[in-house]
Symmetry: D2
Subunit: 229 residues, 4 copies
Amino acid sequence: MLADPESAIDVACGKNGAVFGISSGKGYVDVSTVDAASSILISKQIKDTGALFLEAPVSGSKKPAEDGQLIFLTAGDKPLYEKAAPFLDIMGKSRFYLGEVGNGAAMKLVVNMIMGSMMASFAEGILLSQKVGLDPNVLVEVVSQGAINAPMYSLKGPSMIKSVYPTAFPLKHQQKDMRLALGLAESVSQSTPIAAAANELYKVAKSYGLSDEDFSAVIEALKAAKSRD
Amino acid sequence: MLADPESAIDVACGKNGAVFGISSGKGYVDVSTVDAASSILISKQIKDTGALFLEAPVSGSKKPAEDGQLIFLTAGDKPLYEKAAPFLDIMGKSRFYLGEVGNGAAMKLVVNMIMGSMMASFAEGILLSQKVGLDPNVLVEVVSQGAINAPMYSLKGPSMIKSVYPTAFPLKHQQKDMRLALGLAESVSQSTPIAAAANELYKVAKSYGLSDEDFSAVIEALKAAKSRD
Amino acid sequence: MLADPESAIDVACGKNGAVFGISSGKGYVDVSTVDAASSILISKQIKDTGALFLEAPVSGSKKPAEDGQLIFLTAGDKPLYEKAAPFLDIMGKSRFYLGEVGNGAAMKLVVNMIMGSMMASFAEGILLSQKVGLDPNVLVEVVSQGAINAPMYSLKGPSMIKSVYPTAFPLKHQQKDMRLALGLAESVSQSTPIAAAANELYKVAKSYGLSDEDFSAVIEALKAAKSRD
Amino acid sequence: MLADPESAIDVACGKNGAVFGISSGKGYVDVSTVDAASSILISKQIKDTGALFLEAPVSGSKKPAEDGQLIFLTAGDKPLYEKAAPFLDIMGKSRFYLGEVGNGAAMKLVVNMIMGSMMASFAEGILLSQKVGLDPNVLVEVVSQGAINAPMYSLKGPSMIKSVYPTAFPLKHQQKDMRLALGLAESVSQSTPIAAAANELYKVAKSYGLSDEDFSAVIEALKAAKSRD
């Protein structure tokens, strides 16, 4: 599960890349997190050898990976998908086949766009509850019991209240995914004002030096500065 | 469970209001959805009679109410809270005691603020997935399996995709709660850019005549107009 | 030119208010900056005496007032407007008659809403130019020569670059006007996402303790905090 | 004044490009509107021939060009700037020398970012004034007399009120510049929430089919749809 397009392209197509050891009858399943363009590039080179290609980025970060609870968002050659399915089932709890290469990456971006906005909104709620004199831990508890209960809130809320951000998904990656999702939206002239506002908060958090902390550190972007310079 | 401050005040303090039949040794539990100011007003009049007062707005709409799954966000006289608890437990699945009168209303606003932003973000995701050629039903399914899974998404997603909005929580009430939450945030100089952006979308939806449909109709605010006039 | 509704109401309708010394044949011109509701209240009490009423809030702050360059946004009794015109012309450079009482206040809010958004946008530009290595003074100069040249930019830009905010229009008043304008927009279901985003910045600036400095201090809300706590 | 990077690169570096007829002792002044990366690419190829290079994008659209009122935002070889100055002075009313290649493009993006936000804010004001029963033409007049008076408002306001958008600067170019400016801001982790919100409106306008009309058509993005589908 390579973290960026460059590494994924290098492993697949580089000097000692998979393309040199692959051929018709074989298949290449790429579980890296790359953008659609890189995925299409790798796909093309793999398929030129006669081999099959399956894009299979995952939804889920550190903990789900350790627990075999990943979700595979696959796209590409369906026969390869069917062959890979039993193996994906070992590593993950579910898998989706989404059609042509690039769709896996796009689905992941849409999911992460929603996730980024939700986290920013949750951060607003935590701080607002504190400022008006409510116990934010009670807010987290109330949220956990209603229609908006999401595992992410229960998992991250308590540490956010303590201003601790153990990194499961780095903030800079969340910001990058917001940017890519905004680009995707722009490519189809889709308005996404919530994601755009959330992206600005992740940018603020980055300017505070929080790029490598968990994306829940976005809450810092909403806190008042102690003093102005 | 009265829908607005005026009705709640009338029932409690009006011509035939509860204040005329209540006195020391008795208690008044108000499960209406009112703003903090109205709640404090009712509280004062009830308490002037010597009776106890408990503010007890609920989190949860039509379906949870029918199923006895409401969440009570109470505040006011603790002895009355303790006496009322067994009855609240029949109607709801949980209850919180939040201190002084007004805190129940504030907690509800914070929760609804997050809810409104989440729904607007989810709407962005559904439309974006459609526009880039993904099946939005698959998006709803993918979301339902990950860290951002919330009951609301699974419940409303499928009907939103069909542009159907059976009213559980009217859009105009969600917009009103966004506005009140923004006012609450402003009163403590708390920045809430996500909620502010979401509020604008609910306003657009209202201008489309969707006030009385479910708040999930906010998705209409993100769709391109067919033509300009 | 009273600063707030309370003072304006007191001077007009209070214990020693104008209403006790006014009567048919006379007129009351209120150049205070009040909201429409207060203006309508004062109007009613003045007119109950038989006197005429003219609402006449001004556009323009300290410097234009000193220079007799104010703009009067009047509404109410037209005969009084015509009588007052020569006097308004002494204090201001122009005057508008806008119809029924409340319209003067509404016009002022719309103008100040645009002004607040423009200033926030200008602040974004100044900081962005600095961060990418351009001289912000040159930006101010370039802006001053083109289609977006506004006197406000030339006046405030140089001091904003020096992080100095001599108060002509207090930031807290600008934020209040943004809030009132957003309320006005909501009353007619008009979406105003730019003003909503700008308002959030003024709120941030208020939380930094800049309420009484000039509204150009909103630029501080866009600067990265030195460190997080 | 070529409209896009591709044309500019082709004219400079293409099959029959300027690079083949240029050499030491000569100079190339590029008045195209390109991004910094393209400008740097052209610069490199020109300078490899021994010739000097000056990037000189203009601020100002159709009318200022016709009137010789353009503003040149130049960057690159200073000796060439000094030689070109008399010619730039014929076509434009002023010129700025901004240092290394890329700075001209960056300055233009910052200016256009402010312009795009200002126009979106102005559009909000026009519609809000209409909706609350004020005459938007009076708003345009009031604005023209105060601290926020900008030539663009007086020029475009009257036609915006009539929903007419004669193209001086195409909306799709304004949206592209907003996007590029947001990218520039992101590259230095600068938060720009106003520009981000404005960009969303230009995207909505594009989805309405208004790409080739003047960017003042962004006002359409704020109008309520007649009906939902």
